[in-house]
């Protein structure tokens, strides 16, 4: 905070210096507009959603408005000052200065309020047999909101000895503060969902340094960024009541079936983290032979709470060339790897102390689903097929190779004839490699001197898109639960599932079109349409589909010099079809 205030003060001082210092210089100019006014807002019924980005604390009260858009300079310097003040939490300020000699600086500050909804939890009640669900909202009248604040400053220093040479030092400071609704649940007791107000005081600070320049035909760019994220608010805590039989309420041995019970613990914890990134790029202008570009990126992110780290390493190559005055070819290749530390999950033994039906060890090793190697190639051909007519074709081929598509998990398979048996099937055992082929064709054309249109068709074919493997639909067991007796382990374990679930397509078609035409000197029309059809018919239990249609029409007309109309209409429909598997009751 101290750094941000220091930079804000520097910005204001710099602003004063430029304004005062330049006022008397020869050739000095200043132009712009300034507004001063007031506004008063009132609401009826529920203002939270309709005024989602309105500071409701400033309603029903007269508020001052200030707006300034100022642009000025001298022969050697330009500066701009922009201010938009609506209320204490809704404001924007920008200041920039650019000197002919060496230095330019930009400072931006903005804040706004985002009102959040309050889930009243009233659906969370019901009783079926001995199973009971309750809800308690400990803050029933709570109004939740988040105030966003961001300060950003960049100082650029030119390096005259280097073409396009520049060093940039930048800093950004983001704040999210307010209250949100935090909920958690007691279960394997009477199911009890409780809600509280959770204070949020999050700060993200980003430090950046960029160096760029060109030597002859070669351009270089390197940037470094360090991001620190902390939440200074206290983590909420919850008392988990003693676990007991969810039907009859008896304590029995239920606490041994839970990781914790009869204890106060934190929940809704935010993971403080930091990220460091290095990015280096080089581009060679090979004149008639085209442009060649390469880059290397490395980032590291660490979760402070757990020490878990993730690394991202990438290399990219690109080549663009004009094959002829009418034809342009671009080729790109990208490869990257994401690797996140494994995490060993050490759990209490299930029904510890029960040598017959329990004492099971559920420890597991979490292999991150972020882990992957990605290889992607793009070829793009642009061809001027006639006067004002362009055709583009793009082909993308991508391979995403993961050790585990979903977070590694263990599915417990039960043998009906042998209730004590179980088999662990890790999600790493499934095929986790996605291959994507995408073809895109685009045609642009002028309609004489009065209009233009374009049409794009995209077809994507995906082998093994992202999915949740064996996520749904269970194998049927005769007699449901009675065959296994009251202590059958099947009550408490995930039954063998076999159905994959996803909302990602194996085949996707998309057509987009846009056109504009000037009907007369006073009337013009714009139209657009998007049509898409996605389907996945390669899953083992159902076919997923998604259809989208979005047409739109805009009309601009000026019936007279004094009157101007703009009218628009947009319609959008998205329809998805998926499968829902009803589970078998087993507990």
């Amino acid at each position: 905070m101290r750094t941000r205030n220091l930079l804000m003060c520097s910005a204001v001082l710099l602003m004063c210096w430029t304004g005062i210092g330049f006022a008397d210089e020869e050739g000095a100019f200043v132009e712009g507009t300034a507004s001063v006014g007031a506004h008063y807002s009132d609401f009826s019924d529920n203002p939270q959603r309709v005024g989602e980005f309105v500071n409701l604390d400033a309603t029903r009260d007269l508020q001052a408005d200030m707006y300034l858009n100022l642009f000025g300079g001298t022969e050697n310097t330009l500066y701009n000052i922009n201010l938009d003040y609506r209320d204490i939490a809704t404001k924007k300020f920008e200041f920039g200065v650019d000197t002919k000699s060496l230095l330019s600086a930009d400072f931006r500050y903005g804040s706004f309020v985002h009102n959040l909804d309050h889930d009243n939890l009233t659906n969370m009640q019901g009783k079926a047999g001995g199973k009971q669900v309750y809800n308690t909202d400990h803050d029933p009248m709570g109004r939740y909101f988040m105030e966003y604040e961001q300060f950003q400053g960049d100082i650029k220093v030119d390096m005259p000895f280097l073409a396009d040479g520049q060093v940039t030092l930048g800093m950004a400071d983001q704040r999210r503060s307010g209250y949100k609704q935090a909920m958690t649940i007691d279960h394997c007791a009477f199911c009890h969902v409780e809600s509280n107000a959770q204070r949020v005081d999050q700060q993200t600070r980003i430090w950046k340094a960029d160096v760029k320049g060109s030597v002859g035909p070669v351009s270089l760019n390197y940037d470094f960024a360090k991001t620190d994220f902390v939440d200074r608010a206290n983590t909420p805590e919850h008392y988990w009541k003693s676990a007991r039989h969810p039907v009859n309420g008896n304590p029995m041995d239920f606490p041994t079936r839970q990781q914790f019970s009869d204890v106060t613990l934190p929940y809704g914890q935010t993971a403080d983290n930091d990220k460091i990134s290095h990015n280096a790029g080089i581009k060679a202008d090979l004149q008639r032979l085209g442009t060649l570009k390469g880059s290397y990126t490395y980032t590291n992110r660490q979760n402070y709470q757990t020490g878990i780290e993730g690394n991202f390493t990438a290399g990219a190559l690109g080549y663009a060339v004009k094959l002829s005055p009418k034809m342009r070819l671009t080729g790109k290749f990208l490869a990257y790897e994401t690797k996140v530390d494994d995490a060993f999950i050490d759990l209490n033994n299930f029904r510890a102390g029960d040598p017959v039906a329990g004492n099971l060890d559920f420890d597991w090793n979490r292999i991150s689903s972020a882990n992957r190697k990605v290889y992607q190639g793009d070829l793009n051909l642009g061809w001027k097929v006639g006067k004002g007519k362009h055709l583009k074709a793009n082909w993308r081929y991508q391979i995403i190779d993961r050790p585990a598509m979903a977070q590694s998990q263990t599915t417990y398979i039960f043998d009906e004839g042998n209730p004590g048996a179980r088999e662990e099937v890790a999600s790493t055992a499934f095929e986790n490699k996605t291959t994507i082929n995408r073809i895109k064709l685009r045609f642009d054309s002028r309609l004489g001197l009065k209009g233009n249109y374009n049409l794009t068709y995209t077809f994507t074919d995906v082998d093994m898109p992202y999915m949740n493997p064996t996520a749904m639909c269970e194998t049927s067991l005769d007699g449901v639960d009675s065959a296994h007796g009251p202590d059958g382990r099947m009550y408490y374990f995930q039954r063998q599932r076999f159905g994959n679930g996803t909302n990602q397509a194996t085949q996707a078609h998309k057509v987009t079109g846009r056109g504009s035409y000037q009907l007369s000197a006073r009337t013009s029309i714009n139209a657009f349409i998007t049509w898409a059809q996605d389907k996945n018919d390669e899953m083992n239990i159902y076919e997923y589909s998604r259809d989208l249609l979005t047409p739109g029409l805009n009309l601009w007309t000026a019936p007279s010099d004094n009157l101007l109309f703009t009218l628009g209409w947009t319609y959008s429909k998205v329809e998805s079809n998926a499968n829902m598997c009803v589970p078998i009751f087993d507990g």
Binding site: N123, S242, G281, R288, T306, A370, Q407, T530, V582
Partner: protein, 330 residues
């Protein structure tokens, strides 16, 4: 490759020849111009006086001499040597980059704007779609925008991306129409080596710039969060709250099955925790509710994140051992 050919091509002497050949190719791009061909900006403005005040107030009008790559600065940096045009006053004798160079003269812009934001331009989606610099920037008569944008950022982007503009009118949207975000908050219009979006190695990283609380890396993950935020979120706007592509529980049920409790027939009437349970544990005291036949369905099939609130990942194990702590309840 035949080893003899390889040896021939890459022997010490011939490497030098390859280098010289490359230099020759690179040098052929520069047109032969002499200082005498240039007249200077002041001369241009003698006739084009309508540009005079305005041009000096733009970033281009303020550049230092060293910032121009060629022999000239000012007008002639883009329009070429003006001596012939000054003599003849014929528009044909001066370069009009928009009309005479490909793609509205974008290549000319790239002579100076080679690196930094434009390092990736040639390989960007915009470049591949024939979007030129002048599609979004206005160089003359535009002294009020230091970035020389042809309008507000939204005006410029929504000229082509009209369907996206309409999505910002949906009940759940990022605050672009309210003016608190702009397209460039997420998108790098000049090209990013990885995606069509800014500040990210993956699309996920672009979201994390403002939503760091979901960055992790977490012990207990929700795998689509690690894959791609757009599996669940329609980032420009949606009907469902929190930019969800469909409302809960249906967005969830595409990849998961509901809990088995959802098939239970609910009792009718009011209920409360049994006295025997309260006697054993007073923390259960005072809990009550009203139940209907479909109450358990309402509990289980209305909004999954009422219980699975840490849906973006957590470092804290959930309560159930048999669920291996993965339920994202904490």
């Amino acid at each position: 490759m035949d080893r003899r050919i390889f040896n021939w091509a890459f022997s010490d002497n011939r490497l030098l020849l390859w280098g010289l050949a490359l230099c020759l190719i690179l040098s052929t791009g520069a047109a032969a111009q002499s200082p005498a061909d240039f007249v200077g900006t002041e001369t241009c403005l003698d006739c084009h006086d309508d540009m005079a005040a305005d041009f000096s107030r733009t970033v281009h009008g303020q550049l230092g001499d060293y910032q121009y790559p060629g022999l000239a600065n000012g007008c002639e940096a883009c329009h070429g040597p003006g001596a012939k045009h000054v003599d003849s006053e014929d528009p044909e004798d001066i370069l009009n980059p928009t009309a005479e160079m490909g793609n509205d003269g974008t290549d000319l812009c790239l002579d100076c704007h080679r690196t930094g934001h434009t390092l990736n331009w040639e390989m960007s989606t915009h470049a591949e779609s024939d979007v030129s610099c002048l599609s979004c920037h206005k160089l003359h008569d535009n002294s009020s925008s230091r970035a020389l944008l042809a309008g507000t950022e939204e005006d410029v982007c929504f000229t082509c991306h009209m369907d996206t503009q309409s999505k910002f009118q949906l009940p759940s949207h990022h605050p672009v129409r309210e003016g608190f975000m702009t397209c460039s908050s997420c998108h790098d219009t000049h090209g990013n080596q990885f995606q069509e979006i800014a500040d990210g190695e993956t699309s996920r990283d672009a979201c994390l710039v403002c939503h760091q609380q979901h960055a992790g890396p977490f012990v207990f993950e929700h795998s689509p969060v690690m894959e791609d935020c757009t599996i669940c979120h329609d980032v420009h706007g949606s009907v469902a709250n929190n930019l969800l592509r469909q409302n809960e529980p249906f967005i969830c049920l595409q990849c998961h099955q509901p809990h088995f409790h959802s098939i239970l027939t609910g009792a009718e009437g009011d209920y409360s925790t049994p006295p025997g349970v309260v006697a054993q544990d007073p923390n259960y005291d005072g809990l009550s509710g009203t139940s209907h036949a479909d109450s358990m369905k309402r509990v289980m099939l209305t909004k999954c994140t009422q219980c699975h609130q840490s849906i973006h990942g957590s470092d804290l194990p959930s309560q159930s051992i048999s669920g291996q702590g993965r339920a994202l309840n904490r």
